[in-house]
């Protein structure tokens, strides 16, 4: 099965749970969705997976994901297909007090 390469970029505070590494290149199947990329990342770094999504698979409310600069919440959510060479950027929302 043909594979595509996707880069996931984590914020520093989450990268602490990924051996300090912010950039993670993953190979996933052609047609893979955002959720599949996050699943693959979660297998490699389970704590990172838990930071981004809860146990139902939902994105945490104050976590934003951008695929090639586009907010996934406005573009199909975690079911959006991820193209070859995409960069998936994880960013915390600006919130709190």
């Amino acid at each position: 099965m043909r594979r595509v390469r996707v880069e996931v970029v984590l914020p520093g505070v989450v990268a602490e749970d990924a051996d300090g590494q912010r950039s993670h290149v993953l190979e996933v199947s052609v047609g893979a969705r955002v959720r599949d990329v996050l699943d693959a990342l979660g297998v490699r770094h389970p704590r990172v997976g838990r930071r981004i999504r809860d146990e139902t698979g939902s994105l945490r409310r104050h976590v934003n994901l951008f695929v090639d600069g586009e907010d996934v919440r406005r573009n199909g959510g975690v079911d959006a297909v991820v193209p070859d060479g995409a960069v998936l950027l994880v960013l915390p929302n600006v919130s709190g007090g």
């Binding site: 704590r47 838990r50 930071r51 809860d54 146990e55 139902t56 945490r60 915390p92 919130s95 709190g96």
Partner: protein
């Protein structure tokens, strides 16, 4: 070694008696750890310090330290994870309660309303299905802070017996290790319902067990202070003599039967100390009479003490005394070594205090 673990809205602080000659009996406060994360629950056992941590961004977790808080670890896949078939997600760990009579057993009370049991010292917890599947669940409504089990009292003398409390929902008890649960709220008012004495649905804020054992329980309710002499089957008011029957704290002396404390606030709609005088109120006779204590607590204090921002443990000297601590929403922490008669300041200007736990050693 004596340690106060202080969970706040923005991290964990650890306070220890300062042995420096010029400290004047003060405390050395270190932290924060878990910066900008809530620490609403703490447990201290002989060898583990355990905290519930909640990040608004990155979610809740449980972290454990075996070196007194120097370093922390958490289970890769999470210590508390809702099973797939529940469709639920952990929102916050409200309570971590070591089972003092059963080494290795730790209980957790969580939001959404759930009870969890660990038999490996808190590395992994299992959902207590009997309470999760309880037919009353649909009618347990969230209080202002959320819906959770916030009190867990495992009976040291009777295997399988556990008393829990939730807001709202009330007090429930099991005698078969958690398979079946019975509401035990008879006599506790739920004034906000058409029937003020329903079988369940009460907004109990905190329950504590008397030093004599689990037959005698005390409850601080959302208006109402109660005692039970039959293990929670029925409750009678012991609010007479208090300046208010509203508050969040309920503490019972660890070794002295009949001694308990509350921290009164004016009312539901005025959650501040009466007249701005932050005080403990103590009973020595199981709630028949109360006395204001806490010399050293401030006047002009328009703050509050939350349900788990107070604790009491036996003193280290084996005298039967206590080490009592309270933390306020304006970031002050006080301790008393004379059963609350007088207090001294441990820390001030911290973020709002959610949880305080002590170990006297």
């Amino acid at each position: 070694m004596t340690v106060l673990a202080i969970g706040t809205r923005k991290g964990l602080f650890l306070a220890r008696p300062d042995s420096a000659a010029d400290s004047g009996g003060g405390w050395r406060v270190e932290g924060p750890q878990f910066m900008m994360r809530e620490v609403p629950s703490i447990a201290i056992t002989d060898d583990v310090l355990m905290v519930g941590v909640m990040s608004e961004h990155w979610g809740p977790t449980v972290a454990r330290s075996t070196d007194g808080g120097e370093t922390w670890a958490e289970s890769d896949h999470g210590a508390i994870v809702f099973p797939d078939d529940t469709g639920a997600a952990l929102a916050r760990v409200w309570q971590l309660a070591p089972d003092r009579a059963r080494p290795g057993v730790v209980w957790a009370g969580c939001e959404p309303t759930s009870l969890w049991r660990s038999s490996d010292g808190g590395e992994h917890f299992e959902l207590v299905r009997g309470l999760w599947d309880h037919p009353h669940r649909a009618q347990w409504a969230p209080g202002a802070g959320g819906a959770a089990v916030h009190t867990i009292l495992p009976d040291p003398g009777e295997d399988g017996r556990v008393v829990v409390a939730m807001s709202t929902g009330g007090v429930y008890a099991t005698s078969d290790g958690g398979t079946s649960w019975t509401p035990t709220n008879r006599g506790i008012s739920a004034y906000f319902f058409p029937d003020p004495y329903p079988e369940f649905g009460q907004c109990v804020h905190k329950v504590a067990a008397d030093a004599s054992g689990m037959d005698t329980l005390y409850a601080q309710n959302h208006h109402g202070v109660y005692r039970s002499d039959d293990g929670g089957l029925s409750w009678t008011s012991i609010a007479e003599g208090l300046p208010s029957d509203f508050g969040f704290v309920m503490l019972a002396h660890p070794t002295m039967p009949g001694t308990a404390w509350v921290v009164p606030l004016v009312a539901d709609r005025e959650r501040v100390p009466p007249g701005g005088r932050l005080r403990l109120h103590r009973t020595r006779d199981g709630g028949r009479t109360w006395a204001e204590v806490g010399s050293g607590l401030p006047d002009g204090a328009w703050t509050a003490v939350l349900r788990d921002a107070a604790c009491v443990v036996p003193s280290a000297d084996g005298s039967g005394g206590s080490l009592l601590a309270v933390g306020t929403r304006d970031g002050c922490v006080y301790v008393s070594t004379d059963d609350g008669e007088t207090v001294s300041l441990v820390a001030s200007h911290l973020p709002d205090v959610l949880c305080v736990r002590a170990s006297a050693g």
